[in-house]
Amino acid sequence: MELGAQAYQQKKAAVEQVGWGRGGGEDLSLGRGLAHAAAEAAAAAASAADPRAGREQFARQISQFRRSLEARRAADPGARLAEGRREVAEEMARQAAAAAAAAAAAAAAAAAEEEEEEEEEEETSVEVVEIEEESSSVEIVEVEEESSVEVIEREEESEEEEGEQEESQEEFEEEEEEEEGEAPAPLGGIQLIAPRGDWQPTEAQLRRFRQVTKLGDQAEVLLIPNKGTELIRKHFNTLAEKQWLNDEIINAYMILLQVRDTVLREAGVGAPRCHFFNTFFMSKLLQLLKPPPKQGTYCYAEVQGWTKTPRLRAAGQASAEEGLLGLDYIIVPVHYQSHWTCAVVDLRRKAIVFLDSLDYGNARALMALRRWVADEARDKLKQKWDTAHWRVLTPKVKLQRNSCDCGVFALLFANRVALNRGFDFRQDDVTLWGRVRVANEILDQKIYDHEVGPWP
């Protein structure tokens, strides 16, 4: 009886996980986590039948499955990445599906056990273990094969989606043509999309990336940076494919960009002089985290102290004594409703530029920045700047084709703007390679690119 009740509970949990697994197929951003959860549930369900054999069996299968994925990746990374976002997504889905199938098999086994257990007790439990070992391992293989066939089919089917992509690609191209004739104003509305660069990481970088993004002890300290606070596995895990970046990663990267800014200034290569705020700046300026009615309302006093010399020095600003308004760009990572974007104050051309990989827009943040420039001038320079006439620009940089990579896009936007370079990456480069790059740059504590672009 006791065993029956336990098996029932496990089955229930497994069934729930299967349901999530299915959801994972639809919402691919959760694929990775769900696959893991489903696998765990499967193992748990199996262990209800026979604690040790069941768990070992499923652990074997999952690791086998992972190995085969890794092997496929290693064998042909170029082709795989060329396939792009969909391929990766499908891989995730497949993983989730396999795990879910395993959970289902385990649940079935548990259910069978539960039913039979009412009649006979000891003998059946042995029998169930045998059935489970054979049938479920076969099933996993089947699922994998089936779904890889499915991938091919789906690729053909998904012409619709591809058509959409092409359309938006055309949009870019159209814009390029449109804008080419205009006066050079780098962030002032000309197209920012540059030819694709080389984003392929080295084997070593990829290995390192896998190491820090794999699941494990979340509190494990992986990096104690020269500046800023220590970074633990939990933070690096947000860089794993399909995961949402957290503020620690964004801020760690902003610190590195500020360091590069100092290096570039010393090198005297004519790079724009920049300041990089952290993710809390906009939250504070707009009091986003305060309860209503203050929430979302502009308040300069909240950040008045942020730009005083000692604070700018602490932020790594090379010309802290001069304040910020003599610089070329002030770059502000913006977090709003689970979406990362990058806002730029273009001080030379008197514009606020919003770089949004999904093109949702955030007028409030842009208006706030414009107002902040005026308040900052009044407070620090004792000058009256009429910023009401500054342009607010939202160039079309809608490069993101999924629902998880906006953080990476925001970082790469900031990276390229600070070099006066166009955006030489596409979704396919960002899906994995962009993440590998960012993780390695943080681990190495330096930004790899120093070459300044062609903009005036």
Binding site: G228, D247, N278, F280, K290, D405
Partner: protein, 98 residues
Amino acid sequence: MADDTTGETKPQPKQEGAVINLVVKDQSGAEVHFKVKTHTKLEKVINAYCAKKSIVPSTVRFVFDGTRVNPNSSPEDLGMDDGDSIDVFQEQVGGRRP
């Protein structure tokens, strides 16, 4: 608010063992007051705050006028004055708008 002169260019360090008041504010406006010596590591403040609020330190960020508070630094290192406040931010994650 900190004066420009209170940064690294401070003429002489504050008296050894001088005590200042610090206010830790979360974004809902709740405040917790601490009395600390200027050379005490702020780790103590962070831990005491997290214990009082029953929160895991890795889920919140302590920020003083834009500067992330490193647990190993002291109020003196950060140029904090009596009555200064530290903001507590919740972790932010993002992938897209929901």
